[in-house]
């Protein structure tokens, strides 16, 4: 890949522009990801948060071009990785990038490893695919990789099968596979959701260590705001397929702007606070088929909703210092009094 092109595109490792990914239901197309744009800089950990059904996993699958064939499709928009357009790439070409330049960790360590192959085989597969090395070398490298993710007896483990390992160990193996080729971008989709807290702490620590060592960028998809606060530099909040807020992690937690972000923060029980009842958001995320055609998608659940929220669709607009919000309460075209939330 050409390093000149990456310098031209403002040093962004990944740039997603106006991405729309749609699914066909009963012959009609519905956008699960709707007009999403963001950038990932080198060495950056960017978090994507939102409740289930808000499109965060579909977004990551779109970037990896792993959408289920026939069901999901990138409708429009651009995905530029290091100056190269991924959205128009043929499967054959993208195979050289997938697993090597960009790799992914999935939520379910139980189901994302193949149960009929040994751990070593699955690790060597990635290495042999992308490097010109012998099987013996690949095996040696696999042992080293397993060691680097904190597995205590890697020589034995390469010959074992996934069912012989605990959930935390399997996730370590998944990470070993993902970092085998030293990718420049790692997409982690809920990597610790299926794990216990003490194991989650181990895995998060490990991911941070590797990130600092390899200098890779990470897109961390999660619904856990605690994990976001711990890991991320920047955060994107998604709701119903759209980005509603985007800012650095400190601003998000201390000066959240979008009503959805605020409510989400208030709904989690805090360790150092005592309340009788938690605040909650009424209703649920609208399904793809029931998505409002116009207006803000959160309007029905929003306690701050104004009449115009129902028909004017807000756009993601910059406030200050790169803090972007998509909400009519903050629309610059409106008089300043409206900003009083």
């Amino acid at each position: 890949m050409n390093s000149n092109t990456s310098a031209e595109s403002n040093n962004n490792l990944l740039e997603v522009k106006n991405l729309e990914t749609s699914f066909s239901i009963d012959g009609k197309l519905y956008n699960a990801v709707d007009n999403v744009s963001f950038q990932v800089k080198p060495r950056q950990i960017i978090g994507i948060v939102g409740e289930s059904g808000c499109g965060k996993s579909v977004l990551s699958l779109s970037i990896m071009k792993l959408l289920p064939k026939g069901a999901g499709k990138i409708r429009s928009g651009e995905i530029i990785f290091d100056g190269v357009h991924l959205e128009t790439m043929e499967d054959k070409e993208i195979n050289n990038i997938r697993g090597k330049e960009i790799s992914m960790i999935f939520q379910e360590p139980m189901t994302s490893l193949n149960p009929v192959f040994t751990i070593g085989f699955q690790l060597m597969e990635v290495l042999l695919n992308h490097h010109n090395i012998t099987k013996k070398q690949a095996r040696q490298k696999s042992v080293e990789l397993l060691k680097s993710v904190g597995i205590s007896r890697p020589e034995k483990l390469v010959d074992e099968y996934p069912h012989q390992l605990s959930g935390g160990m399997r996730q370590r193996v998944m990470i070993a596979i993902a970092i085998a080729c030293q990718p420049r971008l790692l997409i982690a989709d809920e990597p610790t959701t299926a794990l216990d807290v003490t194991v989650q702490a181990q895995i998060l620590e490990l991911m941070k260590e590797i990130q600092e060592e390899n200098g890779m960028s990470v897109i961390l998809i999660t619904h856990d705001l605690g994990v976001v606060a711990e890991m991320c530099d920047e955060v994107i909040v998604m709701y119903a397929g759209k980005i509603v807020e985007k800012t650095d992690v400190d601003t998000l937690f201390y000066e959240p702007k979008h009503p959805y972000t605020k409510l989400l923060m208030e709904a989690i029980p805090k360790m150092d606070e005592e309340v009788e009842l938690l605040s909650s958001i009424s209703g649920i995320v609208p399904s793809l088929k029931n998505m409002p055609e116009a207006g803000c998608r959160f309007a029905d659940r929003c306690p701050k909703a104004m009449p115009e929220c129902k028909y004017i669709t807000p756009v993601l607009a910059s406030l200050e210092d790169g803090h972007e919000v998509s909400c009519l309460l903050y629309d610059q075209s409106k008089p300043k009094e409206g900003v009083n939330v």
Binding site: E51, S52, S152, S166, G167, G168, M169, D196, V197, T198, V199, Q200, A201, Q202, L204, E205, H223, D224, L225, G226, V227, V228, A229, E230, V249, D250, F253, Y254, L263, L264, M265, A267, I268, P269, K270, M271, V275, E276, L277, L278, S279, S280, I281, S282, I284
Partner: protein
């Protein structure tokens, strides 16, 4: 407050609030069978000697990581499983050995809310029938119209529209389904509800709705909860007393303040320190535990936590610590105290 007056206070409280559930040395073992004749070769010691008590109207939170035996404890109390050893006193009655009719009578008073709102409701039944089922079970002669009004009442109580009666479970979201499960558990006006991870399958915004509902219902009907969960912040929000389980053992019992402000057991300390806090400015000192939870078939000798404990001493390998009160209202099973 001196220790003596605290103890006196506790005694006073004991008199004020009667104990509704008392579990003594409860063990639940599952046999591991092998060979042609299916001989029992070992036991999975899922619950290995657990004792605690819950007072009427209170919530006892049971926390621990997966595989620590918290769900098995709940199921054994409900007598879904037969205890291997120990006894269970419910409302001052020993229910450990109950069978048939008398067990059915107890089940009326002890109900359960399950974790998975997708798997715990029959997809072929109307919601109304799901909720009416326990009512029908215990009162065969009830009129259909009477049942219907009762179910509609329950639906309103859990915050669902009454037309939910004629719908099927798949038409509802996860949070609404959990409300249906709660309505079913409430139908027989139980005294104790065992809630096994009732919100772990839900999104945060919905999770808070269900937690609020449980609290409101508790106040309204003077319910007692055994609240089983792995999420420590949720347990803190819900519980009065909290018990921490590790590998089939209760390692610490305390009230909410004691448990979170001054945890004593090294495992509890690690568990609390491992929770990622939603505050980027707070960088807390984290205790990272090494390794995984050992197998309950062959638990470590002595203290079950000693192979992972940063403070393990020689005696921890040999002698199993017992749960003892080291501070008023704060029990811990650890040789450090």
């Amino acid at each position: 407050m001196t220790k003596k007056s605290a103890v006196m206070n506790e005694e006073k409280r004991d008199q004020d609030q009667e104990t509704i559930l008392q579990v003594n040395g409860l063990k639940a073992y599952f046999p591991v069978k092998a060979g042609f004749f299916g001989k029992t070769v070992a036991h999975v010691k899922a619950v290995d000697g657990v004792s605690f008590a819950i007072k009427k109207g209170e919530t006892f939170g049971l926390v621990g990581e997966s595989g620590c035996g918290k769900s098995t404890t709940g199921r054994t109390i409900l007598r879904f499983l037969k205890p291997y050893e120990g006894n269970i006193l419910f409302d001052n009655k020993d229910i450990t050995e109950l069978k048939g009719k008398s067990l059915r009578e107890i089940r009326k008073d002890v109900q359960m809310v399950f974790q998975d709102p997708y798997a715990s409701l029959n997809p072929m039944q109307m919601v109304g029938d799901i909720i009416a089922e326990p009512l029908k079970n215990y009162n065969k002669n009830k009129q259909k119209t009477e049942l219907q009004t009762e179910v509609m009442d329950l639906l309103t109580k859990v915050g669902l529209p009454t037309d939910a009666y004629y719908k099927y479970a798949h038409e509802f979201s996860g949070g609404q389904r959990q409300r249906i499960g709660i309505a079913r558990a409430l139908a027989l006006k139980p005294k104790l509800i065992i809630a096994d991870e009732p919100v772990s399958a839900l999104d945060v915004s919905v999770q808070s709705q269900v937690l609020n509902l449980l609290k409101q219902l508790q106040a309204e009907f003077n319910l007692t909860f055994l609240f089983i969960a792995h999420d420590l912040s949720v347990v803190k929000h819900m519980s009065d007393q909290i018990g921490v389980m590790y590998l089939g053992n209760l390692v610490e019992i305390a009230n909410k303040e004691g448990m979170y402000e001054a945890p004593l057991h090294p495992y509890t300390q690690a568990l609390i320190s491992a929770i990622p806090e939603p505050d980027p400015r707070k960088k807390k000192r984290r205790i990272i535990l090494e390794g995984d939870v050992p197998s309950p078939i062959n638990p470590p000798s002595g203290c079950p936590f000693h192979p992972r404990c940063p403070f393990a001493k020689a005696e921890c390998k040999e002698i199993k610590p017992v749960l003892k009160e080291v501070k008023p209202l704060h029990k811990v099973a650890c040789h450090l105290y």
